[in-house]
């Protein structure tokens, strides 16, 4: 067993020493980033069985729960941390073949995002959560701007909206502290019932907006398309694979553990549903492939939020599974699209025609990921689609089910347009040299098939994570149990 604090500490350490590594060797930052994320994955794996047994709580500085900042790593946090660090790992492999202009700074920020997002999911303290959100966001603002002129605007938009989000969040934290007198999540959860209902309402809404921005909820998500479109591929990948997962985690933690009220979940349900259908509708008519993926990403986040907010155990499980799939598939989509874009020298879908025969790996990656998202049998998306429909019908949400399926049809429409273009149309442009992405594509494809054919692989963690979310009493008990 290895101390889980290292998951946050090591990336932060490595990140700030990145300039030194760069001085030692030009190539070193890439390798360091890869090694760090690999190390994180190892640490998580080492703790896996222990956490599945019972959540690990680490009190920083050795103080008891309500007083000190504590880390809480239950199944849910473990799942999210796996997603975050896994995404970072895969993208680090991808980055090995990429050249960034200021690569020490790039990897500095990249590791910072990883650390921040991991911190978000592991912390047991509200203010600490805020701090980690800020770390993540600030790193993301700067990373976005790495793609040159066009990305500045996107970065600026994200900065402003993210700032507004922070304000809401901070205000919410203030209200909470004034009402409860503690910032420990378990403590707040335990005494949430005592808060004045009106204040509770306002506070919850403040959090909804603050965290909703990270979780890409409508109508707080319009910074997303710009960002995903303009940012470097690896950044789009980590944003949709890791940061949004962390956002979902934070949202779930706040509305399941802290303020478990049906009305808030209903808000989330409606917002999620609107995000879903709106995202798909807009994605359908995009001509820019990255923008299309961005809107599709939004829609998926909406779907996940909506399904999780159904609040039943099955629904939460389905939502979490979809989250896992979303991370895997979107990263694959983004890196394949990235290669296709640089091969064509254009982000326009029409210019990608015929690339299937030239850029075989990337086109294959894109296709398999698209089919995964569309829920073709024997791929992972099929299982989660099945679970989602099942749980949403189980919750008597006919309309939502129909909406989800309708969205899926629209999704088919725009993804297949690209796939057809890739394979069945004639090459129009001169193909440029691009990076090789065989390893990440193979890894991700294996995961897609693995989860599609044998989903039991992650059945246990999912079940435990869902149980943890549903039952906030046990969370409180575990953290405060010593008192």
């Amino acid at each position: 067993m290895v101390n889980l604090t290292l998951i946050i500490a090591i990336p932060l350490l490595m990140s700030f020493t990145m300039p030194i590594f760069k001085m030692l060797n030009q190539k070193l930052p890439k390798v360091i980033a890869l090694l760090t994320t690999a190390f994180n994955l190892l640490v998580l794996t080492a703790n896996f069985s222990q956490i599945m047994d019972s959540a690990i709580i680490i009190e920083l500085g050795g103080w008891q729960a309500p007083l000190a900042i504590n880390l809480y790593v239950g199944p849910l946090a473990l799942l999210a941390a796996f997603l975050i660090n896994g995404s970072a790992f895969i993208l680090s492999i991808y980055n090995l073949t990429q050249d960034y202009k200021f690569d020490d700074k790039f990897y500095l920020l990249f590791l910072m995002i990883t650390a921040g997002a991991s911190g978000m999911v592991m912390t047991g303290d509200l203010f600490n959560l805020f701090v980690f959100i800020e770390i993540t966001s600030i790193a993301a603002y700067s990373l976005t701007a790495f793609a040159g002129r066009d990305s500045y605007e996107a970065s600026f938009k994200y900065l402003v909206i993210g700032g507004i989000g922070s304000v809401f969040m901070l205000l919410g934290i203030g209200f909470t502290y004034s009402a409860v007198g503690s910032l420990n999540l378990a403590e707040i959860a335990a005494s949430a019932g005592l808060i004045n209902p009106l204040l509770l309402q306002i506070t919850a809404l403040l959090f909804l907006i603050g965290v909703g921005i990270e979780a890409e909820l409508f109508p707080l998500n319009f910074w997303v398309p710009d960002l995903y479109t303009e940012a470097p591929t690896a950044v789009s990948g980590i944003m949709s694979g890791a940061v949004s997962a962390a956002g979902i985690y934070a949202l779930a933690r706040i509305f399941f553990t802290l303020f478990p009220a049906q009305s808030f979940l209903n808000y989330l349900l409606y917002l999620g549903a609107i995000t879903l259908i709106l995202g798909e509708l807009i994605a359908y008519q995009q001509k820019n492939i990255k923008r299309m993926l961005a809107y599709s990403s939004l829609a998926q986040m909406g779907l996940i939020v909506a399904v999780i907010s159904l609040g039943t155990e099955g629904a939460v499980r389905a939502g979490l599974f979809q989250l896992v799939n979303h991370s895997i598939l979107k990263i694959l989509l983004f890196i394949s699209a990235g290669v296709l874009i640089s091969a064509a020298g254009s982000k326009n879908i029409d210019d990608l025609a015929g690339l299937g025969s030239k850029k075989k790996t990337a086109a294959f990656g894109f296709t398999i990921a698209a089919m995964g998202i569309l829920g073709v049998p024997f791929l992972n998306g099929f299982i989660s689609k099945f679970m989602i429909i099942s749980s949403s019908l189980n919750a008597d949400q006919f309309l939502l089910t129909v909406l989800i399926l309708l969205a899926a049809v629209i999704e088919i429409a725009y993804y297949l347009k690209v796939v057809q273009k890739l394979y069945f149309e004639d090459l129009k442009i001169e193909v440029k040299k691009t990076a090789v992405i065989t390893i990440p594509v193979v890894l991700l494809t294996l995961m897609i098939f693995g989860l599609g054919i044998y989903p039991q692989l992650i059945a246990d963690p999912l079940e435990k994570a869902a149980a943890e979310l549903i039952n906030n009493g046990s969370y409180i008990m575990t953290v405060l149990g010593g008192m």
């Binding site: 403040l206 398309p225 509708l281």
Partner: protein, 621 residues
């Protein structure tokens, strides 16, 4: 092991893909071998209707049983699939020499074969759905690999309609699953019968949606023409011959095994037929009429045959929907026969395309002297399609007529008569414009197709004649199916079928026909020998004929008739659906303009607005 029939082709698919990259003929050879293996082993399965296989899986907390079983109905469909695949694979060994996507073709084709067998062996919704999706997706890629541009659009339409319907199916299936705790057909049927009729009917209608789409039944037939017309030439026979039928298979499952007919038994009826069944039959009738009218208009021979497929599906639907023993038997007969003659037609056309490279009828002519066997195959097949005795196509139509007249379903009968008489028109069009008439100068040096492509056509010709004379071979399995589904059986012998108000005796008719033919032949041969002259040596009202091209009547062959339906054809359903999607696009665009126009201050405002609105909502509640 029933799984063998499913997974051997699927596994072979990948092998075929890899080998085909090295040798262009390898894929087709493997496909042929695998289908031959399937056919042989399926033959061994005949009569063993008690074989079942099941897997229990606890999937993400859901307890799921995957059930496979073989019964006469599924056996028939499996055999049909395997048989036609052999012929197509044989045909494509040579015909795909210059086909860019031949690896993709064989990969997807084998997966389709496997998944179709999976579909017919499935005894529960989830297994059915999984293989159904697999088939849909692979066929999407196959259709996409066809003619440039149009094939893409066609495949696109196909997948969207199919997927929408399949999702609806999944939703209904999961709904039933939650009520009964099982996906199995048997328990679903029990539940549906016990459940409130209105809900059961709704559920079953939703469940039959994907089958309606696949069978190309009005008003969800819009994908058929373009998909069949533009798919790779070797895939069209399968698409038209087999994949439309799998929709019918699904309908039979819904009607009989999921007790749709039992549930609607006591609802309002017209001439003893529940209105809903009558509605299905009427859909069939409309399908016949629209398919026929549009087929007559086509200038592209593959599209013409595609529309004809749509209309022929109408017959099958009518027969099944009226649910009399004769109707059902007629439908099943027609189903088999349509597979046989339609794949013959498509293969003959594929041979023509292989040699000429075009599908436009007016760009060809006079090919009969260059490709006589192809012509013979086409001729035999269209005689069957038009339902002219003594071929198999007449028998099945005759049985369906018998069923319609027996019950006095006048309007269904009119549609059936219309479709049948008008089919003379559309089948004659390619005959006249492609095979007969003047040979185009650029086609002077065309040769008959190679031997491997001839063999499938020859086999099919023989099968058409065989079943035309001995329909009893088919009736044997059909009666087993009827017995299995609990329908009364029809009396038959090897060469005769007993109708409701008359019998069909094919041997007698075959003999008399031969007699008539012999008398005419004698008369012909006793008369003076005639002198052979060229095709351009004809009566031309005194004009000088300079080139063959302008002396060939092919374009807009039935213009006067088409004029009658110009208005109807202009109002196509396709346009309606296109407008729908266009509006969808526009709404997406409008939403994006309104909300996400790139104004940062708006984005900031949204967050505040959301807070205010939600707070207000919370306040009110």
């Amino acid at each position: 092991m029933l799984t063998n029939y499913i997974f051997i082709p699927i596994a072979a698919a990948f092998i075929a893909y890899i080998l085909n990259k090295r040798n262009r003929k390898a894929g087709a050879v493997i496909t042929a071998l695998v289908s031959a293996y399937l056919l042989l082993s399926l033959t061994a399965l005949y009569g063993r209707w008690d074989i079942t296989q099941s897997f229990n899986l606890s999937l993400m907390g859901y307890k799921i049983d995957f059930l496979l079983a073989v019964n006469p109905l599924s056996w028939l469909f499996a055999v049909m699939t395997a048989a036609i695949s052999i012929l197509i694979a044989l045909f494509s060994i040579n015909s795909q020499e210059n086909f860019k996507f031949s690896s993709v073709f064989n990969l997807n084709f084998l997966i389709i074969i496997g998944s179709m067998i999976g579909i017919v062996f499935a005894r529960d919704f989830l297994t059915l759905f999984i293989f159904w999706e697999l088939m849909t997706w692979t066929s999407f890629y196959l259709i996409s690999a066809g003619k440039k541009k149009m094939a893409g659009r066609a495949a696109y339409r196909y997948i969207i309609l199919s997927a929408g319907a399949a999702y609806a199916f999944l939703m209904a299936a999961i709904f039933i699953f939650q009520q009964t705790g099982s996906f199995a057909f048997d328990s679903a049927a029990e539940f549906l019968v016990a459940n409130s009729p209105a809900q059961s009917i709704m559920l079953l209608l939703v469940i039959s949606l994907p089958f309606i789409v696949k069978a190309g039944i009005f008003p969800l037939h819009i994908w058929v023409k373009d998909a069949h017309g533009n798919a790779p030439k070797e895939f069209s026979p399968f698409l038209s011959g087999m994949m439309l039928k799998i929709g019918i298979y699904g309908m039979i499952v819904v009607f009989y095994q999921l007790s749709f007919f039992k549930i609607i038994e006591n609802t309002i009826a017209y001439r003893g037929l529940p209105l809903l069944s009558y509605l299905f039959a009427l859909l069939g009738a409309v399908t016949i009429i629209t398919g026929t009218i549009l087929a007559i208009r086509q200038e592209d021979m593959k599209k013409l045959v595609a529309y004809s497929s749509i209309s022929q599906m109408g017959y099958i639907i009518i027969g099944i929907a009226i649910a009399t023993p004769l109707g059902f038997s007629g439908s099943m007969l027609h189903l088999m026969n349509h597979l046989i003659f339609k794949s013959t037609i498509f293969l003959a056309l594929a041979a023509v395309i292989y040699r000429t490279g075009t599908t436009k009828m007016y760009e060809m002519g006079g090919l009969i002297f260059r490709m006589p066997l192809t012509f013979a195959a086409y001729l035999t097949a269209i005689i069957a399609l038009a339902g002219i005795p003594p071929t198999n196509g007449f028998i099945s139509k005759w049985v369906i007529y018998q069923a319609l007249i027996e019950k006095g379903y006048l309007f269904l009968a009119i549609a059936a008569f219309f479709g049948s008489i008008a089919s003379f028109m559309y089948v004659f069009k390619p005959l006249s414009t492609v095979f007969l008439g003047q040979l185009k100068p650029q086609h002077q040096n065309i040769k008959e197709v190679p031997l491997l492509m001839k063999i499938p056509m020859l086999i099919l010709i023989l099968v058409i004649v065989l079943f035309g004379v001995f329909p009893g071979i088919q009736m044997n399995i059909i009666n087993q199916i009827s017995g299995y589904l609990g329908i009364e059986t029809v009396n038959y012998t090897l060469y005769s079928i007993q109708g409701a108000n008359g019998a069909w005796n094919s041997l007698l008719i075959f003999n008399i026909f031969s007699a008539g033919f012999i008398i005419a032949l004698l008369l012909f041969s006793f008369a003076k020998k005639s002198k052979l002259v060229g095709l351009l040596d004809t009566y031309s009202s005194g004009e000088y004929i300079t080139d063959a091209e302008s002396y060939h009547y092919a374009y807009q062959y039935y213009r006067p008739f088409d004029r009658l339906f110009d208005n109807l054809a202009a109002k196509s359903l396709t346009d309606f659906y296109e407008t729908l999607t266009k509006n969808l696009v526009r709404s997406g665009e409008g939403l994006r303009r309104a909300l996400a126009a790139g104004k940062l201050q708006n984005y900031a405002l949204y967050s505040v607005l959301l807070f205010v609105i939600l707070a207000a909502v919370g306040w009110i509640i």
